[in-house]
Amino acid sequence: MLVLSRRTGESIVIDVEDGIEITVLESGSNGVRLGIKAPRSVDVWRKEIIVEVGETNRSAAGASGEEARRLGEILQKKRPPGK
């Protein structure tokens, strides 16, 4: 891993052509606030959230068809469409 020291107000540029720029806006005992400039095609995520979404997706794939059908009926009963 490349390690760089930056002060508040200083930035790093990840790819000059793609124009990804990360600036340290503020740093203190509660953490560091970063500003990120990136093209729309680049996704920026908090890592723990995207990891959790991936894990949740993988766990969703274990569902059984029979149980899903039964639960679907319960949901429909509880929340009739349009109500």
């Binding site: 991936g54 949740t56 899903a68 429909q76």
Partner: protein
């Protein structure tokens, strides 16, 4: 053109190529699968988002409105545009469900990261909202609703 897909859940399915959905960024957790399709009967509340590249991967999905009638996600700038959606009204929004096998009543829906489909371009994407009102694990049934429906 139809392609034949062997699924664990629904057996062998013939899917029209024009019905396939293309997820240019894949789906988190299944990064290598870009082609998906929706299967399930018209009247079913819970349908399946199945990978056309690996038919054993099937995710239960439902309209978020059935879990949260006031669901009103604010999509981060540019996320809808990346699948060609200009008017959010034309997008189809689905929530991926987690249904524990031993206790589906305790199921949850991912309302923080809905799947958004553009029916016109057949492109899709799972969008992670930056909206603190919504959770990755939203219970499908409130406790009192689940109480009467244990094992029927």
């Amino acid at each position: 053109m139809t392609i034949r897909i062997q699924t664990d859940l629904l057996g062998e399915l013939d899917v029209e190529e024009k019905d396939l959905l293309f997820f240019p960024r894949g789906l988190p957790g299944f990064g290598q699968f870009y082609r998906w399709f929706i299967a399930g009967d018209e009247g079913e509340t819970i349908k399946w988002l199945i990978s056309a590249d690996c038919g054993s991967v099937a995710l239960p999905v439902a309209s978020p409105g059935i879990i949260d009638q006031g669901y009103d996600p604010v999509f981060p700038e540019g996320t809808l545009g990346s699948i060609g959606v200009e008017d959010p009204e034309q997008a189809v929004v689905l929530a991926i469900l987690n249904l524990p096998r031993d206790n589906p009543i305790k199921g949850t829906a991912n309302l923080l990261a809905p799947v958004v489909l553009n029916p016109a371009t057949r492109m899709g994407r799972q969008v992670v909202l930056t909206d603190e009102r919504y959770s990755i694990h939203t219970p499908l049934l409130r406790e009192e609703e689940a109480a009467g429906d244990g094992v029927a």
